[in-house]
């Protein structure tokens, strides 16, 4: 992670901007909303607010500001997520049992950290480790952007389990559009470069940049829509084991899956729970909240397969970063409204993360960083699958062609969708 020659004033702006965006998301929340953990995967909003501050405290302030004193000695224990080398931590599944610290105290903690971070950044050029600090702060900001996305998806789940069907924010008026017909863009076999060059910020899992050989393939021009996915359902998709991976089928049976997460059929019409409440499914928007198993079964049903993460990245190289992001503050995928050529790739970025067939694994020559920060990525490289492209809950400035997101096969609570590939 090389030094960006960012002037300290710009870094301060970046810092303020990311931190404020986190708090902006919280504006419509009631105090009670911050506390609840509605399933093991979910963390309370309060926890996200504190953990992202703990990150700066633990990796920037404590080791690099000798005069820094922690606000509360127990916060290191309560708000460490999974960094074993950073010390003992509170049990993940019990994050929702903490009534204290209160929301007010957590915001005070953020302010406390922000104030110390501001002082540090203002004098960063005088610090003996200027470059290193730049890197660490950048990681901290990207880390916070990741948690912003989790705050959306976690809080959506919290609201969804409430029989009162609360609304985070009403839906904006959207134009009624029909997305362009699905086309296919072809790619030749050959050697391709994969991974980040390191000239700007990257996570360690995006490198080293290296060569792969790809066979010829075609990639769908757009993600699968909810309407197309409904066709799969109505064709018995969830009742035909031959379409599924064995583990996928067991999950369908064990969980009683019959549609994407948050869907419910009422008189054969699909409704879904969204941040704007319980609403009819928008059939022209990309389908979301499907697991890797469902994406894989859909692709098989549609006569294709999932792309590898390398195919996806090759396709994305040179494409503009266009789509609907967290910046739009409408936390749901949206139908494509533009005009596109027949084999032009659309909605590669934003709206929904796209599952790939690639198991999350290190690139050739990968080495995690030393120390606790080395736990950021590498230790999760098993039994998870890569997703690419970002979603409606990702900040636009956070995503890039080489970005690798990853989740277990059964996960559905992120804005996960699917784009089909096929052999030539």
């Amino acid at each position: 992670m090389p030094l960006l020659a960012t002037p300290s004033t710009d870094l301060l702006d970046q810092y303020a901007s990311v931190r404020q965006f986190t708090e902006r998301f919280c504006e419509p929340l009631e105090t009670e909303d911050y506390v609840v953990q509605s399933m093991d995967d979910v963390s309370p909003t309060k926890w996200h607010l504190a953990h992202t501050s703990w990150f700066f405290e633990t990796f920037v302030l404590r080791p690099h500001v000798p005069t820094y004193e922690v606000m509360h000695p127990e916060f290191a224990f309560l708000f460490n997520s999974y960094y074993i080398q950073a010390g003992e931590r509170h049990t993940r599944a019990e994050r929702g049992l903490l009534t204290r610290p209160t929301v007010e105290t957590v915001f005070a903690y953020r302010q406390y950290v922000d104030e110390h971070m501001r002082r540090l950044i203002e004098s960063i050029d005088d610090h003996p480790e200027t470059e290193n600090l730049h890197s660490l702060i950048e990681i901290g900001l990207h880390h916070e952007q990741q948690h912003q996305e989790l705050m959306v998806t976690d809080f959506k789940h919290v609201l969804s389990v409430n029989p009162l069907r609360p609304v985070y924010a009403p839906a904006p008026a959207l134009p009624a559009v029909v997305p362009p017909k699905m086309g296919w863009k072809a790619f030749d076999e050959g050697m391709y470069e994969i991974g980040h060059t390191g000239e700007s910020f990257m996570y360690d899992n995006e490198g080293p940049r290296h060569r792969v050989f790809l066979h010829p393939f075609e990639l769908a021009t757009r993600p699968v829509t909810a309407g197309e996915y409904l066709d799969f359902i109505e064709d018995g998709g969830y009742r035909r084991p031959e379409l599924w991976l064995s583990q996928g089928w067991s999950t369908v049976e064990a969980e009683g899956w019959a549609a994407p997460m948050y869907w419910r059929m009422e008189e054969s019409r699909p409704f879904n729970f969204t941040m704007a409440g319980y609403r009819p499914v928008d059939l022209h928007a990309p389908v979301c909240h499907i697991s890797h198993f469902e994406a894989d079964a859909y692709a098989r049903w549609a006569g294709g397969r999932l792309p590898t993460e390398f195919e996806w990245e090759v396709a994305a190289q040179g494409q503009p970063i266009r789509g609907h992001f967290a910046d739009d503050e409408y936390f749901h995928p949206v139908p494509f409204t533009g005009v596109a050529g027949e084999d032009e790739l659309i909605q590669l970025y934003g709206d929904v993360w796209e599952w790939t067939s690639s198991s999350y694994a290190p690139y050739p020559g990968y080495r995690p960083a030393p120390g606790a920060l080395g736990e950021y990525n590498g230790k999760f490289m098993a039994n998870q699958y890569v997703l690419r492209g970002g979603s409606c809950a990702t900040s636009k400035s956070h995503i890039r062609p080489t970005y690798r997101n990853f989740f277990p096969s059964h996960s559905r609570w992120q804005f996960m969708g699917v784009r089909v590939a096929r052999d030539v």
Copy 2:
């Protein structure tokens, strides 16, 4: 449940007094404190506040006040506890997942119900069902008193799982006293009357009054103290299977029990978590937070046995209702400070519920009331054991000699203790 000839003004006072005591308990709470369910047995404080209001709404206002309109149509679903005949209900284990209604709304709900109850009570003598309404309102008030006790024990558990060890209220200064030596009071064999006469308020499970034949027995003059219980621990009580019921021993092994709930040994000295925070165990106070299994093993170790609920009730007949209650607002048992004769029974009431050896079962001729209120007691008469006498979290006006509390053998989160009996 006969009519009490309570004038409506007195009933209004009673109503106000009970309802206010509930809210008084909440005064030290933060908003976040109301939301959490720290284990399946625990309900959030918010839920208790709403459920006790739902009770009046469901059993008094809706059936008997034709003009009454519910404040929110979903509250009947959210705040029904276990009354199957009162309709569908929210899953018990998910009470802690509800961020809404907010605490503010729940207090508004209480006010809304209170206002309608006030109007009803003021005109109760003109109502065609005056007697019946009196009875229902009395049940509702006793029901609320039961939930007041649960609010204490549930919230204690919520605080206890927090590594920050929060304090509900600081402990008062207590005199340092040594309780009197344990004595034994003897009772002759013979026929005794058991159960409530029905001349004042009673739950249906306290009747019918009936005769039992008892063999001669002796009852300890006071509950076992924490210090005496510590002797049992230090004598290997938790490591000697021969002292335990088979199911008790399995529980000891499965749960890793080595002391009462909330205890922790630090350098061989016992500390415990209390509503006043984490403190040294008061060795002169009655031991509390022990299960039926532990009470039974202790009694066996001490050369005695648990009393039956009939023996307890016979012993309690004619005794004054003296002890430490919720009214004292110090939610922990307290050492006996008075003077007592050698075979005088002390602390029969208050401080700790006393486990008996009696399985909770109907009295001869028992019939539950018709309708949903018939579910109040009868359907729980299996695989639970009876406790008698009330605790430091019980209102003094709530307890009486015939009162039957009941919990499963492994339960420990109530203020449960033990008084030993023995055969002659």
Copy 3:
């Protein structure tokens, strides 16, 4: 447990007779049949064969025959059931994982123990502890009779989980009879003597003999038949929560119960799995394989209640021990074929164990024996309910009016039925 003045030749006959009956049951079995544990409650037949021998080895031969050498040092570990004071034991739930010792070795172990027991009994009058040995051997024989019953019910379960629906032995031809109309026998209130006098063999849980006061009651003249139970089912018995204890209803929902264990409806006609294979339910025979919860719900539906174990014992005093037993080698309850007066109690013994409303608890003054044998009964006196009267899988010589069997409320795999009582 006093000495029976049984001459040693008679004792030898008794010993031989009980031991042979165990092996007689095994005659139709294949080697594979002995190995399987089809649920945690079930033990493999092989285990029962060995454990009953281990019992004589552990409590008679090893402590009282100085020259006795065990056949295999590991058998004490493998075949101890639950006697903590007799040493470590193999995990109960893993009894079905043992391929060795083989069935042949287990039979050899029986022979080995039998041979040493024969020698001991032949010279028992010369032994310094004649009386004590008599008692121990009698316990051992009654213990083996209990396991004979478990061998039947356990093996029935093993066969039942096999889709091939194997038959233990074909059913005998039974006369087609209609049982007499249900009548009621009345009993006055009063003091009654309960428990064993100790003049012949008894388990410690049957004493001390003591007095109880009973209110007036009536007892049904016969157990409920399968046909009557079918009426309950067809009247929605399993769909009406108001008929059930709360824990019973949870069990109905969690387990999906809709009929007794081993029943299956085919085109609205009930079939059941029996030791004679899968057959139509005999509607005139007593219903069996119902839990305490089901017995309780049935009784409530029928307008009655379960009898207490004291009521049952009072009713049984002086009644002849008549019914169908293991001795008949038809391991299923059979319709009553005799003639009976209007208030004559029939089938009190044999056919089906009758659930009572009494929680299994010690009688006043009960003390378990010292040492490991004291674990036989006392430690199980919690959260179980008493059954009385024996079943079609009980040996006739094993049962008596004071005999107390006990199982948890949800257990169904014994031949458990119900006789209704009611208040006057």
Copy 4:
């Protein structure tokens, strides 16, 4: 899977030879040994014997021999493993609950199928589908060879849970040898061909043959020995989370892993359970019974990494198939006894399966066969990792350079070991 121009007499020989080898393994077994399922992953020996026969019945005899009649109509239900398109099947976890069919009947079933197979093969050249039948029979034989390996590892587990520590067969006398020093063989970066050419038998998952680009790498000349693995243990390998994948560390903690499966430390010396009983670990033999997580942690500790399956296959191309196989009938890895050049790869085949870092996934252009046989491989391509090279329980004729075995990351009951790779 193309036709092998195998004359029918050779096919008959092959058929007889494979089928007999299965039964030969069973010779030392007692009847009881065939019945038990000691964990969910394990199938009873009896089941393997029947399932491999069911395979020929279902895919060869029933569809292609019009006159064939099944021996028992329920066997199709009982002995289908996971072929959803071949009909309903018995629950996997309940295979150990079946006492019937008896072992004798299962052997009769084998004979019955063998007799019909013999007749079919003798006249195979006259059959309208000669080629297809050849293919199906070959799959059936390779399928049976896979189950032969599972019979060994499953039965080893069955024996291991028995406190009597039974012995399958005594260990042969092995020469005491020290394996050669670990060396490294280097491979250049470049394009390589991967997968089976299809000129002889292959499973569908070994193709299509295709090109991959590999970066330069080195592969250890031999598998890690038990002695080297003991160094890892003694260096705190199981206590240092930084060596482990996150999921691996959770598994270590949840399962209490501190050594390979079947190991037990006695006075700091490792012993292990083998088919020859409980014995000191042979420190010079390749370590076995380690999970993917352990292999990965070991490699990290040793400064390397796991090879990809492509690296392994490239290294194996052109190497002789040498090592210890099931054919040797000593079902445990054995120290290398030969002489080897410094960068000569030894024990690539046999002894232990070698974990790779490759998630089990389809090769480019992979299509499973239509119908139930298409379920053989493809549907398992998720959340499993590839192992290469065969083990001491694999038949020599079964293995080849392109062979892909696969198991979940936590599996340890196969003979799984590790060979380290490293970047250049």
